[in-house]
């Protein structure tokens, strides 16, 4: 976490009175904090820690749920599948998002602000709505199949969703803004004179890009990739609606355990695994980028 900056001002040294007042105020600050903290502890920290405990008790202390998870190949496959899908989605987002961020960063701001709407509007639209839109487009009687059938290009509808293809189309669509925005914000800050200098020194455009621009843009790439990967790991709505029977991600598996099999202890153990994984990757992200970046474009 980036430290919250304590703002110092030139008046501080002068007015000692204000300083002592501040010391007395320390308690007041804690009093102010008590209301929101109490709320967060009751409805957030307490439920999560209860879930953590639940994963270790049945009813006595046990590792049963964890052993159960790691001893069954089918369960491990769900975890592996989640990882594979998240990595693929991240790479797809990077390959689509990097050129777009590059274009947005190199156009004059009047034009790029306009094009930015195309990135930000999907970003602000509910995930369910976007997933529904893809169901309308990719479905058996969806727009693409209607179009292809009408033009006689195919004789029977193509299977475009309820498979991995559908999940990737939907997930990449939802996560792409999370890739474009961090890369864009880094690229905008790159000093264009560096590229000119390299060009003047005789480097051709490809060399300038590979040896100057690309390395400077890597922090954005790292941030975008970690962000997309973390969010993809916990995805639930899109893979449940667009995926097939075999494209199960860990969130969907947890939901089934809770709502259909009523296997709460086991679900809690899987949730704890997902939480630990997410926090590990996130602490890595946070060390380099800071959580403010996640909503940085809002400011």
């Amino acid at each position: 976490m980036k430290p919250l900056e304590n703002q110092t001002s030139q008046f501080e040294t002068i007015s000692e009175a204000a300083k002592s007042l501040r010391k007395r105020n320390a308690l007041k600050w804690l009093f102010l904090l008590s209301v929101p903290l109490l709320f967060l502890i009751t409805f957030y920290a307490y439920p999560i820690s209860q879930m953590l405990l639940r994963s270790f008790f049945d009813p006595d202390f046990t590792f049963r749920h964890y052993i159960h998870f790691f001893s069954e190949e089918a369960y491990l496959n769900v975890l592996l599948n989640t990882f594979k899908m998240s990595v693929s989605v991240t790479l797809l987002c990077l390959s689509l998002g990097y050129p777009v961020a590059y274009l947005l960063a190199s156009l004059p701001s009047r034009v790029s602000n306009l094009l930015m709407i195309m990135v930000v509007l999907p970003f602000f639209t509910a995930i369910l709505v976007r997933t529904y839109a893809w169901m309308v487009i990719l479905g058996r009687n969806g727009l693409i199949n209607q179009f292809l059938l009408e033009w006689g290009l195919i004789s029977s509808p193509l299977k475009l969703m309820h498979n991995l293809f559908g999940v990737y189309v939907g997930m990449v669509h939802i996560l792409l803004p999370f890739m474009i925005l961090p890369i864009y914000s880094v690229m905008v800050g790159i000093d264009r004179n560096l590229m000119k200098a390299a060009q003047n020194l005789g480097a051709n455009p490809a060399r300038v890009f590979l040896h100057v621009f690309l390395p400077l843009s890597l922090p954005g790439v790292g941030g975008g990739c970690l962000l997309v990967f973390i969010i993809a790991l916990g995805f639930f709505i899109t893979p449940s609606l667009l995926g097939g029977i075999s494209d199960v991600m860990i969130s969907m598996f947890i939901e089934t355990q809770v709502n259909q099999l009523l296997n709460w202890g086991f679900a809690a153990a899987m949730a704890v695994l997902l939480l630990v994984l997410t926090l590990l990757i996130f602490s890595f992200y946070n060390r380099f980028f800071g959580i403010e970046r996640m909503v940085g474009h809002v400011k």
Partner: protein, 274 residues
């Protein structure tokens, strides 16, 4: 697309420009991919066909009428509006309080508290959802507006906190000190000096809180029960049964809302600049 080409490029030989044409083409396709699904839902919602057909054979408001006439769609809308409004009020209050104490206050453990308060942003929703579901099952809070509001407030508060604290960091603290030294009480100082300056941040945080609650589905799937079915939960139930074009109409309303949010944040950003 031609207009987008920066002028200095036009003097170069054509072969030099091929990579940038390729870039424009590629990005054009990506933009199409990003925006097309959202735009396509809107004409579908005005379709006169009984099932999804593109282009729509004729104009009709039947699906909007269907939505407005249906009791359970309307009920879900009321639930969503109530929950989102309550969430907005509470999380804006809590988030602003947190931001103020964490940016202005001097006490140990500030960064820890900040990390804790923003962490719901990164914890996967499914984890929050089942943890709250287990908790609510014991308290009999499943299927209540109170429970739904509390859960959404946890999700929405971090947005308010992050936006308001970035706003607070950006303004001159000496203004507050001036008010204090002139004899205003800390509360008065906050109300008459701090609040007017950070108002844009608070408003945009509130807007984010509203949309966070209004769009939220994963938690609702678990804790909606039968009496706190929100609009996204109602859509989710509908989508799984059949693709009912009424959902297109509801989706268009959601899209309208997100356009509003986008225009609004852009407006705030521009005003800040000037």
């Amino acid at each position: 697309m031609r207009r987008l080409i920066p002028p200095h490029r036009t003097s170069r030989p054509f072969t030099d420009r091929i990579p940038s044409y390729l870039l424009y083409l590629f990005c054009g396709l990506v933009f199409f991919y990003l925006i097309m699904p959202i735009l396509i839902v809107i004409p579908m919602s005005f379709s006169s066909a009984r099932f999804l057909k593109f282009p729509p054979p004729g104009f009709s408001l039947q699906w909007y009428k269907n939505y407005l006439m249906s009791r359970d769609w309307m009920e879900a809308t009321y639930v969503s509006l109530k929950v989102a409004s309550a969430t907005t009020l509470i999380s804006t209050f809590l988030g602003t309080l947190l931001a103020f104490a964490l940016v202005r206050g001097r006490f140990p453990g500030k960064n820890l508290i900040y990390s804790f308060a923003v962490s719901p942003m990164i914890v996967p929703l499914i984890i929050l959802a089942i943890a709250i579901y287990f908790f609510y099952s014991e308290l009999k809070l499943v299927g209540t507006l109170l429970g739904m509001t509390a859960a959404h407030t946890i999700l929405a508060t971090p947005f308010v906190l992050v936006i308001v604290s970035s706003n607070l960091k950006g303004f001159d603290e000496t203004l507050e000190r001036a008010a204090l030294s002139l004899g205003a009480s800390p509360f008065k100082t906050f109300l008459w000096v701090t609040l007017p300056i950070i108002k844009p941040g608070v408003i945009s945080g509130a807007f984010f809180a509203f949309i966070t609650s209004f769009d939220e589905l994963v938690i609702a799937i678990f804790i909606a029960g039968t009496h706190a079915v929100t609009l996204p939960k109602r859509m989710w139930d509908g989508i799984r049964l059949e693709i009912d074009p009424t959902i297109s109409a509801v989706s268009s309303i959601f899209i309208g809302l997100s356009v509003l949010l986008m225009v609004f944040t852009e407006f705030l950003r521009r005003r800040r600049k000037t």
